[in-house]
């Protein structure tokens, strides 16, 4: 069986004022179903760019990105949006919760794109919030929560619609040690208990160590395994 995420000969260039910058250069990587992958590397090495392409919010310039049998590079914008809502759970560095919505409403948001009924949505939201241990904070607004709690709500939002892949860009980058540990433990649980595939970008070696596989990026390509 082929890998869940299979990237071959991926090149990404950005045009900035006539000048082209190559951010990812002929990069190939396979990520298996159920992997927990950490992406590390110096600033500007292209970690976020790679993650965004996997998540379907950025597009490859060249090369093929096959995810669960779909070549996402050829999807239209609308198809891609729908694909994201089914397959990708987003975890952002700054949580990106909607400030005017309660924890419950934030978690319910991605479910609005599913055909679930109101009561089914409620059940899913309550389940997701209890997985992250915040069932009692349902009616709280983001500003009433600590950073760590906000990130847990964000994780609940990511798991609510039960996607296969979680992408996390420096999910602990804005958190203190203790909160960061909680978040990493949660991600580990998602991976081990629920079998979710996780791709996480991090600068923090101790965070990366919680992953099963660590990939290093440098100047737009992966450093071969074992050489880091």
């Amino acid at each position: 069986m082929s890998a869940l995420i299979s990237i071959s000969h991926l090149t990404k260039t950005y045009k900035r004022e006539k000048q082209e910058i190559t951010v990812l250069k002929d990069l190939s990587i396979d990520i298996e179903q159920g992997d927990f992958v950490a992406l590390m590397g110096p600033s500007g090495s292209g970690k976020t760019t790679l993650l965004n392409i996997i998540a379907g919010i950025d597009r490859p310039t060249q090369g093929e990105v096959m995810i669960a049998g779909t070549n996402i590079g050829v999807l239209t914008e609308t198809e891609l949006a729908k694909w994201r809502s089914r397959h990708i759970g987003f975890i952002f560095q700054f949580y990106n919760l909607i400030p005017v919505l309660t924890a419950f409403e934030n978690v319910e948001l991605p479910l609005m794109l599913t055909p679930l009924s109101k009561s089914e949505r409620r059940r899913q939201v309550e389940l997701a919030l209890s997985v992250v241990g915040l069932a009692d904070r349902m009616d709280h607004y983001p500003r009433q929560l600590s950073g760590g709690q906000e990130q847990r709500v964000a994780i609940a939002r990511a798991i609510a619609s039960d996607p296969d892949i979680f992408v996390a860009d420096e999910p602990t980058g804005d958190l203190d040690r203790v909160s960061a540990e909680e978040i990493l433990t949660l991600l580990e649980r998602l991976n081990k208990e629920f079998g979710k595939t996780i791709v996480m970008v991090t600068h923090d070696p101790s965070a990366a160590n919680r992953a099963r596989i660590i990939h290093h990026l440098e100047k737009g390509d992966l450093i071969p395994q074992g050489q880091s």
Binding site: T78, A81, F92, F94, N96, I98, P99, E105, L113, R157
Partner: protein, 386 residues
């Protein structure tokens, strides 16, 4: 759109201050807009309730109003014998021979304006709007007495019971105040037509108004008048329609002037709405990027911001209409261009004014919100998230 409605509402509530300012601006514009329509409608209503559907007015064809219309005695007598003029038990025509003249008098708020004096026959009381003497008494036929429309008492100085007015070389005494179902007759002075003719040394009348027989048709009458060379200089018209037509010039003037002004104002309000919506979009850039990443489409974002803007405008519209409704308690008086006499009317909030104002505010919200909403929907996910 799959973005929940409470998302829109909560964002709207969250930016109370800027939304409030926008609402205030739109409310003011809608207030002026509604007031203008109410005024035009009030004038139409007053004149359209003047007279009766069952009555026919005869005027001289070339006349522009009642004052410039002249009908001589023999013609008047001839018309009174026509078959579609209803007769009483004694066989007398149910017709009033009116003489209308204009005098001027000082207004309460300064300045001088025209007011109409209508000499009527006794029949006028039975065929026109219900005339109620609210104070004093009815004038006596055969004497130089007047009754005054209740609207004039409010607007004009020294036009009240007991006051004497000089015109036609004589002094006339006001002996009563009348109400006439809020019609234009409340802006007139009434007297005995015979006395008016004597005072002005005239034999002719201005207009004739008769109760038509139930089977008579106004179009038929027009054809008959046009085909008879004794009558073809005169024109029959439904009494209500006649007075309604007299308000047209005035209504048009108010509407065109008023709507031009409010359209100019509305540009300001729309720019205001646009600025606050642009600010809202700028403040929520990351949020927009997040929603898009989660899978919400561009059209959902567009709709959400557009609805937010429209809600703002509709709230402004409701407040503006609410303020304008208060005007219903006031009545004002102005010179009617149709008759060149003072006409008193009140603002009336009708369903068409209401819906017109709501549509107007909706348009403002749509136009003001469209560009910012478009900008929000056009952002790329990556640049919004950065």
């Amino acid at each position: 759109m799959n973005i929940p409605f409470y998302y829109i509402l909560k964002n709207f509530v969250a930016r109370k201050l800027t939304a409030g300012i926008t609402i205030g601006g739109i409310a003011l514009v809608v207030f002026v807009f509604a007031a203008v329509l109410m005024m035009a409608d009030g004038i139409r209503k007053t004149l359209a309730t003047t007279g009766s559907e069952d009555n026919v007015v005869i005027t001289r064809k070339s006349s522009t109003g009642e004052i410039t219309s002249i009908i001589d005695r023999p013609t008047a007598d001839l018309i009174s014998t026509l078959q579609f003029v209803q007769k009483d038990e004694k066989g007398n025509a149910l017709m009033t021979y009116d003489g209308v003249t204009v005098i001027n008098a000082p207004k309460k708020d300064g300045g001088i304006s025209n007011l109409a004096v209508r000499g009527v026959s006794e029949t006028a009381m039975s065929i026109r709007n219900k005339i109620t003497i609210v104070k004093g008494r009815m004038f006596t036929f055969g004497s130089r007495e007047l009754i005054v429309g209740t609207a004039l008492v409010k607007t004009f100085d020294k036009i009240d019971i007991g006051d004497k007015i000089k015109f036609g070389g004589d002094e006339w005494t006001i002996v009563g105040e009348m109400e006439a179902e809020k019609s234009g007759f409340e802006s007139e002075l009434w007297c005995d037509v015979r006395q008016l003719q004597l005072a002005f040394n005239r034999e002719a009348f201005s207009t004739l108004t008769f109760r038509k027989t139930s089977d008579a048709d106004i179009e038929m009458m027009k054809i008959l008048f046009a085909g008879d060379k004794r009558l073809n200089q005169y024109e029959p018209e439904n009494e209500r329609r006649y007075f309604e037509k007299q308000s047209e010039a005035m209504r048009m003037f108010i509407q065109i002037l008023g709507i031009t002004i409010t359209v100019i104002f509305s540009v300001g309000a729309m720019i205001g709405a646009m600025i606050t919506m642009y600010a809202a979009v700028a403040n929520r850039t990351t949020e927009i990027g997040t929603l898009r990443a989660l899978g919400f489409g561009r059209s959902s974002i567009l709709t959400a911001f557009l609805i937010e803007s429209i809600i703002t405008a509709l709230l402004g519209g409701i407040i503006g209409i609410g303020m304008a409704s208060i005007l219903q308690f006031f009545s004002i008086s102005t010179l009617n261009f149709g008759s060149f006499t003072e006409l008193s009317f009140s603002f009336s909030m009708t369903s068409s004014v209401f819906s017109g104002s709501m549509i107007f505010s909706l348009v403002m919200g749509f136009v003001g919100g469209f560009l910012p909403a478009l900008k929000a929907s056009r952002m790329s996910i990556l640049s919004a998230l950065r």
